[in-house]
């Protein structure tokens, strides 16, 4: 049976951003997944985690470890994305000044998630929230 890890992500709390991705990385190392695959997984997860922290009120991250892949679902309550195609374009960003000062918000997050995942689905409703589901094969 697939093992599942779940995490709560608090919007706005940059000190905690990355905790979930870090725990997933440790688990993948334990499982003996190849280093370059681990990097793809944790970079995509971290980008998604940062998006929740930067834009949403809160979110839930679920990591499902299958024998040949990992499925990660990140669902948040937040502003949602008005135009997903536009948000997928490199350089498009709605990040605040605070987020940019931390070294993020350059409009590279979603394109980077797409680059590092084998399958990616994004659903979003303005004023409600966003749900990302991604799969990476080992």
């Amino acid at each position: 049976m697939a093992e599942i890890l779940e995490f709560h992500i608090k919007g706005g709390d940059f000190n905690l951003a990355g905790k979930a991705s870090s725990k997933i990385k440790k688990k993948l190392i334990q499982l003996g997944v190849e280093t370059s695959t681990i990097k793809r997984i944790v970079v995509a997860t971290y980008e998604a985690e940062l998006n929740v922290v930067a834009h949403a009120r809160e979110g839930k991250l679920t990591a499902i470890f299958e024998p040949d892949s990992i499925r990660i679902i990140i669902a948040d309550s937040g502003p949602g994305i008005e135009d997903i195609d536009l948000a997928m374009e490199a350089g498009f960003s709605t990040a605040t000044k605070k987020v940019r000062e931390m070294g993020f918000g350059a409009g590279m997050g979603l394109p980077n998630i797409r680059k590092n995942t084998d399958e990616l689905e994004i659903e979003s409703k303005v004023g409600v929230g966003t749900r990302l589901e991604m799969i990476i094969y080992y």
Binding site: G18, K39, V43, M102, M108, N112
Partner: protein, 114 residues
């Protein structure tokens, strides 16, 4: 290039990790933009930066960057040091600017990523 040589060349001091760490650094990347660091494909690099916050350490953890050089006397906070030690990242502080540190390390054999 070994960490000990990098410290010597940049007149640096170790803030976290082991200065005798036997990582062989081949390439360097200078940036304050963590989004950009998350797009790097290479390993065994040193990140030369002026950004000193906890997310810097989280970013290099995810990007598999083993060594960070903090320029212009930006002090690593206790949270950064604790996290770097926990993850096993070497953190070096220098009074050099990013430009000077990059120049000195390039001159001494470190290659650029792009």
């Amino acid at each position: 290039m070994k960490v000990s040589e990098l410290i010597k060349l940049t007149e640096g001091r170790i803030a976290a990790g082991n200065p005798e760490e036997q990582i062989n650094i081949e390439r360097a990347f200078s940036s304050d933009l963590m989004s950009d660091v998350l797009t790097l494909d290479d390993h065994h690099i040193v990140l030369i930066t002026g950004l000193a916050n906890v997310q810097l350490i989280r970013t290099v953890e995810m990007a598999d960057v083993p060594v960070v050089l903090l320029c212009r006397n930006k002090p690593a906070t206790p949270e950064m040091v604790n996290l770097a030690n926990e993850i096993g990242i070497v953190l070096v502080e220098t009074h050099f600017s990013i430009f000077r540190a990059s120049g000195v390390l390039y001159q001494n054999g470190l290659k650029p990523l792009y």
